[in-house]
Symmetry: C2
Subunit: 148 residues, 2 copies
């Protein structure tokens, strides 16, 4: 892996604090293949994310998938670039209890500043909990404060 | 509004604790029209939900929309029923800073145990931050522990 910099890699390598939202989700970087456009990240689902049945609410499953597709693209960008997720569609497949979950993300296609992304969330037993597709736009890092 | 019971209304009326995931999102019930299939809820977006630019990460915007479409359907169900969101698609329109956000949800169509839902998330200034459509299934409350 190259020595990369920018908002994503600075966080991974401890040169910048992990963003608050990522910390709240128990986000941890696992691995990335920048050339292939793939990434693996982990999340810690806590009791604070559960519904009355004790399962992780799909709200937080969706949140974790959002924080998988974004990093898949972010990991490939220049230090002065950032990304804005325009749209995300999630399919919820199975219930999951609190614990460590793995997000596997991939850039399906990139055409100029637009990228098609996909991700799946997998539990410790390898079961697929949910999948997502997303569309994102590469933006200048300076535009991040005004991007959705 | 009728005096309703069941997992959703018991939480609204303080007869059951607010679910942990809802509490984490700062969820509060505002109003519902069960006959029309509409609901209004509120969330408190905190600094813990923000990206490096200080905006609420779309992950949490999606989470709030999930916790708007679900309640729109839940509010209309019998006490022994629950719901499982099968799919949700979110469009992210504008950035938003931490603060109180309003979720407006609606049952677009219900056909047997399947429901088509939609929601929008609006900031304190009335600006639409994101929209969602979702498909959900009505399930027996006893099946909730094994539903996604």
């Amino acid at each position: 892996m190259h020595t990369r910099s920018g908002p994503f890699w600075d966080g991974v390598h401890g040169r910048a604090p992990i963003p608050p939202a990522a910390a709240t989700l128990g986000f941890a970087f696992v691995d990335a293949d920048v050339e292939a456009g793939t990434i693996e990240v982990a999340f810690q689902a806590t009791e604070a994310f559960t519904n009355p049945a004790g399962n992780v609410l799909g709200a937080f499953v969706a949140a974790m998938l959002y924080d998988t597709v974004g990093p898949a693209l972010l990991a490939t960008l220049a230090p002065d670039q950032f990304q804005s997720t325009l749209q995300m569609s999630v399919s919820f497949l199975r219930p999951v209890r609190p614990g460590r979950l793995t997000g596997k993300g991939r850039i399906v296609h990139r055409d100029g500043d637009l990228a098609n992304l996909e991700a799946s969330l997998v539990d410790a037993g390898g079961r697929q909990i949910a999948t997502a597709t997303a569309t994102a736009r590469v933006i200048p890092l300076a535009s991040a404060p005004t991007a959705a």
